[in-house]
């Protein structure tokens, strides 16, 4: 179903080419939410976000309000905004950073006020050169306007914001990897416990790490109330969400839809969204939530875009990226490329991930190249099992961070759904799609 819910985070950028400027931001109601928040008690601001049951938009889907409430009492607290979007086929944060940086900034400032943070770091993926320019220029404008810095709008609340560039490492999207990177180190995810940066984060101080899309929702929630947000969507999937649609569709792009109401099929086929597959092509499979998520076949295309519903079918909405593969796609090649991505991006701390990803990539490659053996299929699943025992969903973990268990899904999905295709590669000694 295509609902008439008005977009929350993309309203401005859809209508205006200069949506990244302060002038346009103010003309479209910008920084009103910050003024309102500053007139409220910080706890009441946090309560509205809890009421909205806004799930984190980075990939793990952890409720933002709960994350904030876990902060331990401390004189110093930090807010770190995660704009290191690197999950393959996810390009929503890229759009938000380039086209509506003030919205991210306002959400971050409100969050800093709600949690009592004195300094905010906005970590922007290094590859987003234009995004970094727009984010910094928005910050410069906001300082001049008095929305950031000392005694914001005469409220007595002060906060400093720093825009920090990454330098190309997928693992820095992991919240503790990001904090290490922000401390000027290699982006090695931290050993748990402590489980959450809320206990021990940046420089050992309690820290909240939130995704940029999560932050982009905060101004709307403050202005319209948590209940209004929670009235959109269904179950635990409240509000609207930005989905990045790519692959074999006529009109790939970022589409903001009401959660749990719209289906994958709507997203792929509706004229206002993906406009369907290319002429004469049929749907072979689709990836519902980024490269780390198990694939779905055409029989699940009518599932709603709901975290709960997708979880019932042993996958996830993850980072909100949907990759469509039509009948011209070689499943082996697609799964091989995703596996190679993880092999390259493994930080190397944990043996199952560092070594396992390399083996899996080599085995997948030789099957695709026509040099595979039938027993390779069992070998692949065995190596996968060593990284994530039992290959169940949600995945079990043998590694410090979730990158390890993100490797098996594309491989076991491809084998379970397209075993025959693997066997043809092996029997013919060549890729049938080449």
């Amino acid at each position: 179903m295509i609902t008439d819910a008005a977009p929350i985070v993309t309203a401005r950028l859809r209508q205006h080419a200069d949506s990244h400027t302060l002038e346009r931001y103010l003309a479209t109601g910008g920084y009103r939410a910050l003024r309102k928040a500053l007139s409220m008690h910080p706890e009441d601001v946090a309560a509205e976000v809890s009421k909205a049951s806004l799930l984190g938009r980075g990939g793990a889907g952890f409720p933002a309000g709960r994350k904030w409430s876990m902060l331990r009492p401390n004189p110093v607290r930090y807010l770190t905004v995660n704009g290191d979007e690197s999950e393959p086929a996810t390009f929503k944060d890229h759009l938000l950073i380039e086209c509506d940086p003030h919205q991210i900034l306002e959400g971050s400032l409100i969050t800093a006020y709600a949690i009592g943070a004195a300094q905010v770091f906005i970590y922007v993926r290094g590859e987003f050169a234009l995004g970094l320019e727009r984010m910094q220029s928005a910050l410069n404008e906001a300082y001049r306007y008095g929305a950031v810095g000392r005694d914001i709008f005469g409220s007595g609340f002060s906060v400093d914001v720093v825009v920090h560039p990454g330098a190309g490492a997928y693992i820095c999207g992991d919240e503790t990897g990001l904090l290490e990177s922000l401390e000027g180190k290699r982006g090695f995810p931290r050993i748990k416990p402590p489980y959450y940066p809320a206990a021990m984060g940046l420089y050992g101080e309690p820290t909240v790490v939130n995704n940029v899309e999560t932050m982009s929702n905060i101004p709307w929630i403050v202005l319209h109330g948590g209940d209004a947000f929670a009235s959109l969507g269904e179950g635990s999937s409240t509000g609207t969400r930005l989905f990045a649609l790519s692959g074999h569709v006529r009109r790939p792009g970022n589409y903001e839809v009401e959660m749990a109401k719209t289906t994958f099929s709507d997203l792929i086929h509706a004229p206002v969204y993906g406009q369907g597959l290319r002429a004469g092509r049929t749907l072979k499979a689709f990836i519902p939530g980024g490269a780390s998520s198990p694939w779905f076949g055409p029989e699940l295309v009518d599932l709603p875009l709901s975290q709960d519903e997708v979880a019932k079918h042993s996958s996830m909405l993850g980072s909100g990226s949907v990759v469509v593969m039509d009948d011209t796609t070689c499943a082996v090649r697609a799964a091989w490329r995703i596996t190679r991505f993880f092999a390259r991006e493994s930080c190397g701390q944990c043996t199952p991930c560092r070594v396992g990803s390399g083996w899996l990539e080599k085995i997948m490659r030789r099957i695709e190249d026509g040099a595979g053996r039938e027993e390779d299929l069992d070998l692949l699943l065995d190596v996968c099992d060593n990284i994530s025992p039992e290959l169940v969903w949600p995945p079990q973990q043998t590694t410090i961070c979730p990158l390890g268990p993100s490797i098996p899904p594309s491989i076991y999905s491809a084998i379970r759904m397209f075993r025959d295709e693997f066997l043809v590669h092996i029997k013919d000694g060549a890729c049938p799609y080449a």
């Binding site: 810095g149 000392r150 990454g166 401390e183 290699r186 420089y203």
Partner: protein
């Protein structure tokens, strides 16, 4: 020594190190963070704006600025794909072949790029104009297959479109759209906490003083090591095996 990416005259900057302007910007960046080391990656981006890659001399200067050893700068920088520890061409072209691009001909585009430039991914053309890289998803999947040139985005690209892009770059027709290396060339912090100017100056002075102290400490260590090495030589090279 200067990297091949240098376009300014050799007199414009010290050999391999940071220019005075970059040094001033570097100090501003260091002052932003509660711990100086946090500025490591941003400083590396500044170095790359000057040289295209991290020269050994610049790594020493970065180390001084943030109070770590040059080895720690290299050890950290080598973790990150965007930080180059070897010279690169004037333009670094990164072709994406990850899943969304793969489904739309990304690998074929990379193969075409290798043929057109006469170089393999990971290498630099003989005229030092282009370094070709295969990159992971650059979050431009609605324009697949796509690529970046010095981290400016282009897509979707046909093979002919790639040839035209390369010709435009080589002829200098895209100097405005594609700046030199370094992603912070057009990023400058203007605001900052709205504090009295005296406080800012005091903070700067304290930061400069700390910098001098760290430098002096490092030089003292170096001197001591040199002295020990000299002694060690006389005593028959203790521990040199």
């Amino acid at each position: 020594m200067t990297g091949p990416a240098d376009t300014a005259g050799p007199e414009a900057r010290p050999a391999g190190g940071l220019s005075p302007e970059a040094l001033a910007q570097a100090r501003e960046l260091v002052a932003l963070y509660p711990e100086p080391r946090s500025a490591l990656v941003p400083l590396c981006h500044l170095v790359q704006a000057e040289h295209g890659w991290l020269t050994p001399q610049a790594m020493v200067e970065v180390a001084d600025l943030i109070g770590v050893t040059p080895a720690e700068v290299l050890g950290t920088a080598s973790f990150y794909d965007m930080l180059h520890t070897e010279p690169v061409g004037k333009y670094v072209i990164g072709v994406c072949t990850n899943i969304a691009c793969l489904l739309n001909g990304g690998i074929e585009l990379l193969e075409h790029a290798e043929e057109r430039l006469g170089t393999r991914a990971g290498a630099t053309t003989a005229d030092n104009l282009f370094t070709l890289e295969e990159v992971e998803c650059i979050a431009l999947c609605d324009k697949a297959p796509c690529l970046t040139v010095n981290w400016r985005f282009f897509g979707p690209l046909t093979h002919d479109g790639f040839d035209a892009l390369v010709e435009d770059l080589a002829a200098g027709r895209l100097e405005g759209e594609v700046p030199r290396h370094g992603i912070l060339n057009r990023v400058r912090r203007e605001g900052g906490l709205r504090v009295a100017r005296e406080e800012v100056l005091a903070e700067r002075a304290a930061s400069d003083q700390a910098l001098e102290q760290r430098k002096a400490a490092r030089e003292a260590v170096e001197k001591r090591e040199q002295a020990q090495q000299g002694q060690g030589g006389k005593q028959g090279g203790k521990g040199s095996a």
